[in-house]
């Protein structure tokens, strides 16, 4: 079954004087219309870099990109990695859009928000400037900005952080895209505002039947909105499954460690957090074997030091549940169950 976006073996590298930074390494994921895929990982895990490649936003001069990212459009499939830059440019903003973490630096301070939304609209639609502003006002209304008729003429600095993020969403959706990539859209916002924005994204997804890729480091946000989850570490996808499988039946040591290390607001009482020892790997000098092995508490369960020598593949270990680990799913679940019991 083909999905709307299928990313296959995507690698992104940046040559530097110190060596090639392997920011994304054979990354594969897919997302369908109406579905939300969350890509989770810590800083430097490659989650933004691979999605910027899908949007065609890397500078081709200093980036090495390989692999494929196929958009299955009604008019036929397009591989945005190999396609002509002009073709990708025509898809950007029309078929796929992106919103970023910091809504202040993503908006132009000299132009009113209405002008900026109208500009995005006029790229793909015939009509006067007045039509564009009218459309901008509709969009502001849609994303829940009160008094849209007045605010359409205001400038970004007159909006609060949450309202600016709404403006960004309005701009991204002005041409009814099929794919929305949201890169940490609520990280800069307060929790009460975050809740507003996430529920807005969910509502808009239903209305427009969009595919959403949500890039985040916050597992709480993932639990709230994701249908599927891909966990990234050291430039690779290490686990890919439905949200429930990821949270309740994870079969990948890094995911298990991540879930154990976060404090939860609904569990009171003092217990010690089980932190993951050590640091994330350097992307220039990735460790041999499994990138997570030096920090992994399960690596000692594998004989012959295999984790430090052989790189595990991303394989389907259970139905629709992919993981990158030398230990079998059953053994991992047994070990983590016995550890939780202690």
């Amino acid at each position: 079954m083909t999905k709307f976006l299928e990313v296959n073996n995507l690698s992104v590298g940046f040559p530097t004087p110190d060596g090639l930074v392997k920011a994304a390494n054979n990354v594969s994921y897919s997302v369908d219309l109406g579905e939300t895929l969350a890509i989770v990982g810590e800083s430097g895990s490659g989650k933004s870099v691979s999605n910027l490649a899908v949007m065609g936003l890397h500078n081709p001069i200093n980036t090495q990109i390989s692999g494929s990212a196929v958009l299955n459009l009604p008019t036929g499939p397009v591989d945005v990695i190999t396609a002509d830059t002009e073709v990708v440019r025509r898809l950007r903003g029309k078929v796929m859009s992106m919103i970023f973490q910091d809504p202040m630096s993503a908006l132009h301070p000299y132009y009113s928000v209405g002008d900026q939304i109208a500009e995005a609209w006029s790229l793909y639609n015939e009509g006067s400037k007045k039509d564009g502003l009218k459309r901008a006002q509709q969009m502001l209304d849609l994303v829940g900005i009160p008094a849209a008729d007045k605010r359409v003429n205001e400038f970004p600095h007159q909006f609060s952080g949450g309202m600016r993020q709404r403006v960004m969403i309005a701009m991204a959706l002005v041409n009814n895209p099929s794919l929305l990539i949201a890169d940490e859209p609520t990280t800069a916002l307060d929790v009460t505002v975050q809740a507003q924005i996430l529920s807005l994204l969910k509502d808009l997804q239903k209305e427009f039947n969009m595919a959403i890729i949500l890039i985040t480091h916050d597992l709480g946000v993932v639990a709230q909105v994701a249908d599927r989850v891909s966990v990234m570490y050291g430039g690779q996808v290490v686990e890919s499954a439905t949200a429930d499988q990821t949270f309740y039946k994870s079969i990948q040591p890094y995911t298990i460690g991540l879930l154990d290390s976060i404090p939860r607001v609904d569990i009171t009482g003092s217990h010690r957090l089980r932190s993951i020892p050590g640091q994330p790997p350097s992307l220039i000098n990735l460790p041999a074997g499994c990138a997570f092995a030096p920090r992994c508490s399960f690596a000692s369960e594998v004989t012959d030091n295999k984790c430090r020598v052989v790189e595990p593949e991303l394989v389907e270990k259970r139905a629709d549940h992919f993981a990158r680990c030398h230990i079998s799913a059953e053994q991992l679940l047994d070990i983590s169950a016995s550890r939780a019991g202690k």
């Binding site: 810590e42 307060d190 929790v191 597992l219 639990a223 309740y248 939860r264 607001v265 957090l273 640091q279």
Partner: protein, 328 residues
């Protein structure tokens, strides 16, 4: 000796903004902190939470007198420090230290780690037993860093390691109280847990008291014994941690808690959220009556006129609301 290491009573801090100047702009007053009372017992961790702009950082900085308080009283270790001059504060500061949010901005990039930590000793004229070098090495070891790294520069360390250096610097003069301003919010999840555990261990070993300022309620819940919730410069609710999180009585606390995502998809699907409308009002022009009334879902006429006073409703639980939620 009082049981409280820190007693802050009715603290206010106003900032004047844009006074005159060439554009002759109207003079305004930002009421960043407006009548806050906090007590921190010895060996206790008090969490201070709220959204950005609620004044939590200003409270932390005023308590340690990086800002001069506009009004109110600060008693630290049985001594009134409210009106102490800069010079007089110096000896006090060795007993109260601060950990900052951004481990990239709070360490001098041109100084080695050794110099950065040593500075605490030099400034306060302290000669540690066994020499400064040895003391610095021991501090680094205590926070989980290799003591041989004291000749390295901050850029050679990761964010989590740099935050450990900031903690080592704060510990150098064996303080009694540490004001930690968002100490883990700049760190990755797996590293965050390491630093939280370190702060926990240090408290047990050294009997430290923490005033823990943060916006992440999950972290605050985990580390604090008591929690104060702030909104627009005022304390809305204060309670023992378990009580505040299991049975919040103030509508704002309740909404705030319901907005925090929980890493549990099945729970998230059936959770009911109280979605607050709108944004935080400007602290230059706070609403009359209860400051929260513009966003409160239980608002009534009384709230728009009368400022609710903070009252104790149970042992270890007080709040400022005309119409509190029933106890669970």
């Amino acid at each position: 000796m009082s049981e409280n290491i820190l007693e802050v009573t009715n603290l206010t801090k106003y900032f004047n903004s844009a006074s005159g100047g060439i554009f002759n702009r109207k003079k305004g007053v930002v009421k960043a902190v407006d009548g806050v009372t906090i007590k921190v017992r010895r060996g206790e961790t008090v969490g201070l939470v709220g959204e950005s702009g609620c004044g939590k950082t200003t409270v932390g900085r005023t308590v340690i007198k990086l800002y001069e308080p506009t009004n109110g009283q600060i008693i630290f270790d049985d001594q009134d420090i409210t009106n102490l001059k800069r010079r007089e504060m110096k000896s006090i500061r060795s007993k109260m230290q601060m950990i900052f949010q951004d481990p990239f901005a709070s360490l001098n990039p041109r100084h080695t780690v050794g110099t950065i930590i040593e500075a605490s000793f030099t400034i306060h004229g302290v000669k540690p037993v066994g020499g400064t070098k040895k003391a610095v090495g021991e501090l680094l070891e205590r926070v989980g860093l290799n003591p041989e790294h004291l000749n390295r520069f901050p850029h050679e360390f990761s964010g989590g390691q740099r935050q450990r250096i900031g903690i080592a610097r704060a510990l150098a003069l064996t303080p009694k109280l540490i004001v930690a301003d968002e100490p883990v919010s700049a760190l990755d999840v797996s590293i965050q847990a390491q630093v939280i555990n370190l702060l926990d261990d240090l408290q047990k070993e050294l009997g430290l008291s923490y005033l823990f300022v943060a916006h992440d309620l999950s972290v605050v819940q985990h580390i604090s014994d008591r929690v104060l919730v702030m909104y627009l410069g005022k304390v809305m609710e204060e309670a023992k941690t378990s009580e505040l999180f299991l049975s919040p009585r103030h509508p704002y606390t309740k909404a705030l808690l319901s907005a925090v995502p929980i890493p549990d998809p099945q729970l998230e699907r059936k959770r009911e959220r109280i979605l607050l409308q709108g944004d935080l009002p400007s602290p230059m022009n706070p609403p009359p009556g209860c400051v929260f009334h513009t966003r409160c879902w239980k608002v009534q006429d009384k709230c728009r006129v009368e400022v609710p006073q903070i009252i104790q409703i149970a042992p270890n639980h007080s709040l400022a609301c005309h119409f509190p939620e029933p106890a669970k």
